[in-house]
Symmetry: C2
Subunit: 155 residues, 2 copies
């Protein structure tokens, strides 16, 4: 965990930005809650626990900065809120998401499922792909099992 923070620190310095206490607290929250797809507000509240004097605007500015440095990605699952997701180190493509319509959980897929699809898009549509966003909406394993159980009970 620490090494990732260090690497981010270096990335910032390389572009002559500083890793201020507020920025560090924000990055730490992102690292700790990596799987969580937090909104800016969520992050703000969590950062406040570490650094109570921080302002929401600072969180937004930090996130914008991290976005610019490609450390995080901004995603939008359809509710009006932007969520922030750490990019995987050493993974050139953006990972996919499985959003459960029952329980709202969000699972991540790091395997690149789109290699063939991208090839096809480049060949058949002449479109030079740089990045992608892929989200599936449906029912997660857990909720399927829960539903099954329920239907057996009512039988």
């Amino acid at each position: 965990m620490e090494h990732r923070l260090d690497r981010i620190k270096k990335q910032l310095h390389a572009q002559s930005y500083k890793l201020t206490p507020q920025r560090e607290a924000t990055v730490k929250v992102l690292l700790e809650r990596e799987e969580d797809h937090l909104s800016a507000e969520d992050i703000y509240l969590l950062v406040k626990e570490k650094a109570p004097e921080i302002g929401l605007a600072t969180v937004y500015r930090t996130l914008e900065l991290l976005l610019e440095l490609q450390i995080v990605e901004k995603i939008n699952f359809g509710d009006g809120v932007s969520r922030y997701d750490l990019r995987q180190e050493g993974l050139e493509h953006f990972h996919h998401h499985l959003v459960c319509v029952e329980c709202g959980s969000i699972q991540e897929i790091f395997e690149n499922l789109l290699v063939d699809v991208e090839k096809k898009v480049e060949e058949e549509w002449g479109f030079q792909v740089q990045d992608h966003r892929l989200t599936f909406h449906g029912v997660c394993k857990k909720c399927q099992q829960a539903k099954l159980k329920k239907s057996r009970m009512t039988k």
Copy 2:
């Protein structure tokens, strides 16, 4: 074009909603500008040309209704605005988008490129897919050619 309007009218009636003049004007705009990925504001301005007395709130309410009836889809390309896209009749899956980072154009792909991918997701992750969102960001054919031309000129 008329037949699609008729069909939508029937869909509304089936759920005991009325196709009021305002709703009709809104749907007509959506049909006429089908390829355009309009925002609510865009739609509002276009509808105003047909029905100047309409209010923005009505447009929002109509779009919400159409969303509920699965006639349109709400999409978000990352700028803060929701855009509305007519679903293709007789196409069960939601179509894909190619967003050009150079010129901002948005191209649609109606072919379902995700059949194999969805199968894999169901099998390997146990996730029961209902719908998907796939967007590619990159450079469209036109802009690639324009860039090529430019680079030849500077040679």
